[in-house]
């Protein structure tokens, strides 16, 4: 099976999430190849899981103040702070039939590509079900998956740097309560590439591309005009809408 790999792009939160859905639709009707894409978020953003309440999880006032976008994902899981400088995000979108039916096993398969990429950088990592990757017992990556209309979408982030102060300020913990103790406690649970190796973000991205494409027949592709158009529609009509944002 042939894959399409779309190299690192930067979009805002709404277009990024709309794009995952537009590509899913396109693969479903046979217009696009199974796709692996890498991307950044600009402006920085907070994404919440499909089942979460945005008011419960996100400090919307702080987001507005800092110019940080807020978005509900198409996938479950928890709230994530997406920092342009501090992470690389990936999406894998392909017919569900090529992955194990067992969801944990399919997480394991795709997260295995990430583990391999980290390994090639000299960072020993392990997959921790359900959806985490750990380095020395600390979380460095989280992923989320959905399967709709026969298409599997898994997207996830790899932490390159950590800005815990901003992360806590947007994730509904009041700024008064952001104590040194809380940051220290998070530092004990979460890690990033730069805490393990002083390496350029570009090199991390290249290691990921190599690991995700290893053994695959693939072409370096781009979005089709149709995918772009559909993503723009979805970004505007769905992902930016209050109806979607306040779904729960």
């Amino acid at each position: 099976m042939k894959w399409r790999v779309i190299g690192l792009e930067t979009h805002d939160a709404y277009f990024n999430m709309a794009l995952d859905e537009a590509i899913s639709e396109s693969i479903r009707v046979g217009s696009s190849l199974p796709t692996i894409r890498f991307y950044n978020w600009s402006p920085n953003a907070v994404s919440i899981g499909y089942f979460q309440g945005i008011r419960d999880e996100v400090n919307l006032d702080v987001c507005r103040e800092l110019g940080i976008d807020c978005i509900r994902r198409w996938t479950g899981g928890g709230a994530v702070y997406h920092d342009f400088d501090g992470e690389i995000t990936y999406s894998v979108i392909a017919p569900a039939g090529i992955f194990p039916k067992n969801i944990i096993e399919s997480y394991g398969l795709i997260c295995g590509w990430l583990v391999k990429g980290l390994g090639s950088l000299g960072i020993e990592a392990e997959f921790r079900p359900v959806n985490d990757i750990l380095v020395k017992g600390k979380k460095i990556s989280g992923s989320a998956q959905t399967r709709r209309g026969g298409i599997l979408l898994q997207h996830g982030t790899l932490l390159y740097g950590l800005d815990l102060k901003t992360m806590f300020s947007v994730l509904n913990v009041s700024r008064q309560k952001i104590t040194d103790k809380m940051i220290k406690s998070a530092e004990e649970r979460v890690t990033c590439i730069l805490n393990n190796r002083d390496i350029d973000k570009k090199d991390v991205y290249e290691a990921l591309v190599n690991a995700f494409t290893e053994g695959k027949d693939y072409e370096s592709g781009a979005l089709s005009i149709q995918e772009n158009k559909r993503a723009e529609e979805l970004a505007l009509e769905k992902y930016r809408s209050d109806e979607w944002m306040y779904l729960r």
């Binding site: 979460q52 969801i103 998956q145 959905t146 729960r248």
Partner: protein, 93 residues
């Protein structure tokens, strides 16, 4: 009257339940950082709780949720029918 419960369940994820009731449940909203495939099944679970009495048993709640999961061939990750029923029961106390 609106009641609320939030718990980190034993399968590892956070489940929040907000229920509105008069004599019976009139509205129920489940949220959290769990996974459920297909996602739309959560709407069915919420609907199935409507018109139940406030003192509905844990067994009845778990039975209803299990049935929906089975009927839709759904998969819950990070929660279970029993742990969801427990949080709903807690909210209705």
């Amino acid at each position: 009257m609106i009641v609320y419960s939030s718990q980190k369940v034993k399968e590892g994820k956070i489940v929040k339940v907000e229920a509105q009731f008069d004599n019976v449940i009139t509205k129920l909203k489940i949220s959290g950082d769990f996974f459920l495939h297909p996602e739309e099944v959560l709407d069915e679970i919420e609907k199935s709780m409507l018109d139940l009495e406030r003192d509905v048993s844990f067994d009845t709640l778990a039975f209803k949720i299990r049935n929906i999961i089975k009927n839709y061939d759904a998969q819950m990750i990070g929660i279970s029918p029993e742990s969801l029923a427990l949080v709903i029961r807690e909210a209705l106390k």
